[in-house]
């Protein structure tokens, strides 16, 4: 029987590292708001972008270079230009995507116990996990599990903060 082993990383310590960093970023973002127009749609949108980046940054820095995905995310965050244009940056980072068009040569097809793992699903996963383009199947699955754990932590903490500030 496949017993699920508990994660090596203590979720509450990752949670507290993330929460500390994220709250700090939030208060910095909050301090920067121009009081006159803090509720204008433009301002709200700008804040939304900054908060999104802060959430990813806080998570990546909380994991640091212990994981391939966090290293990839840190690299992406460091090379993005200050301000807008985050979409263009991710395009630059993924310039190797056109190389993946030849799915048959770059993707392994493995037959597992439960059936065939096709290259298409693995490729789809590679695009979702930071740094996935360079991972072999084993690392991809391993990194994905950790990435998901961190994403759920991110969501939990952000939810708690949002609930706290909700009227």
């Amino acid at each position: 029987m496949n017993k699920y082993n508990p994660p090596r990383m203590n979720p509450s310590s990752l949670r507290s590292r993330f929460a500390t960093r994220f709250l700090r970023s939030l208060s910095e973002i909050n301090a920067q708001k121009p009081t006159a127009s803090s509720s204008s749609p433009t301002e709200i949108f700008r804040r939304y972008r900054r908060i999104k980046v802060a959430a990813d940054k806080s998570m990546a820095y909380s994991v640091r270079s212990r994981r391939t995905w966090s290293r990839a995310m840190l690299w992406k965050l460091r090379t993005r230009p200050c301000g807008r244009r985050s979409v263009k940056t991710s395009t630059i980072v993924r310039k190797t995507r056109h190389e993946k068009q030849n799915k048959n040569t770059t993707t392994a097809t493995t037959t597992g116990e439960d059936g065939v793992v096709s290259g298409v699903e693995a490729d789809e996963l590679r695009e979702l996990v930071p740094g996935g383009e360079a991972m072999d199947l084993y690392n991809l699955l391993d990194e994905t599990a950790h990435y998901i754990k961190c994403l759920t932590t991110q969501v939990q903490v952000m939810k708690k903060i949002a609930d706290f500030y909700s009227p």
Binding site: N5, G112, L141
Partner: protein, 93 residues
């Protein structure tokens, strides 16, 4: 890297993933995904696990997006510093 074509594998620098290793990792993922946890069955096809994993990651990122959006509106009318300690305590409890 294909375990079913051992004799023809020419990629000497690439470690071969065994069926067992693959099954273990796929099972680990399966337990992380709410959709699949509910099915109570150990026999979910690996390709389905990967598909559900992709969907789950996308839904988590959408949640982060929505929460960022919600926070950006909430911050419009909030002074944060004084309440941070209280939040931290409630978060860490």
């Amino acid at each position: 890297m294909s375990s079913s074509r051992r004799s023809r594998s020419r990629q000497s620098g690439v470690p071969r993933i065994t069926d067992d290793q693959l099954a273990h990792l796929v099972s680990k993922l399966q337990h992380l995904i709410p959709e699949l946890r509910r099915s109570r069955s150990d026999k979910v096809a690996a390709s389905k696990v990967l598909q559900e994993t992709c969907d789950y990651i996308r839904s988590l990122r959408r949640e982060v997006d929505d929460l960022s959006d919600r926070l950006s509106e909430l911050l419009a009318s909030t002074d944060m510093d004084s309440e941070q300690a209280a939040i931290m305590r409630s978060l860490l409890m």
